[in-house]
Symmetry: D2
Subunit: 77 residues, 4 copies
Amino acid sequence: MWQNINNKLYQKFTFNNFSEAFAFMTRVAIEAEKANHHPLWTNVWNTVEIWLSTHDAGDIITKKDEDLAKAIDALLT
Amino acid sequence: MWQNINNKLYQKFTFNNFSEAFAFMTRVAIEAEKANHHPLWTNVWNTVEIWLSTHDAGDIITKKDEDLAKAIDALLT
Amino acid sequence: MWQNINNKLYQKFTFNNFSEAFAFMTRVAIEAEKANHHPLWTNVWNTVEIWLSTHDAGDIITKKDEDLAKAIDALLT
Amino acid sequence: MWQNINNKLYQKFTFNNFSEAFAFMTRVAIEAEKANHHPLWTNVWNTVEIWLSTHDAGDIITKKDEDLAKAIDALLT
């Protein structure tokens, strides 16, 4: 579940290993480019943390962030 | 299951969409580089076809191919 | 330069090594998904071959193919 | 140039756009897996920040980090 932390949608994803985590990142990269909306994200080995907010709207959560969050969730179902 | 076709190990993989197929390709790319042994492979949308043989051994199937085939299979289990 | 071969736009790209070739493939994958138009493509180590045609139009070259070809070329400039 | 910050090797990389940045990340992912040594890294659009340290040695900089830093630098030359 995405949490609202400091005006950002945040979620931490955990995988079995780096290879799985990076494959997920590749899919998120494709979604981000399709939406022309790019996350702040961090990876260490099997974990990926993503923060979504809209810079042009003043670094708050907008529909763009909610839509990208849904697209990311859809990758894992 | 990998098939032996014309002195190559061959398998066709099918996914739900391009994004899933390319995520798999990213993982295979990592395995190929780790093994320093690279496939001939083709992708169209949700399908990935892989042929493995060892050029330096005269384009036949060697242990290198069998090992990479196993590493690729392990990605999908 | 893209060539018109059997009703497909075709080009072969050569890189210094597999890593460079696959990084290019990742960028092409993003462009393909953005266009919702996917190539037939093949990779062996440092070479990437791409064929573009439009299945829904009867496997001929359409503006979709020309646009994706331009987007791919733009990655290399 | 990599800097030594809080017992980590750190460098920030800037690219022309997200696609270039993520292509670089794909190449770094391959190097990390080849070395079985994985970075902490963050991406926002065209920037990639990488921190390298060795957890098993007590979160200090070791030869593993220096070697991965060199491998990453080699991707950009």
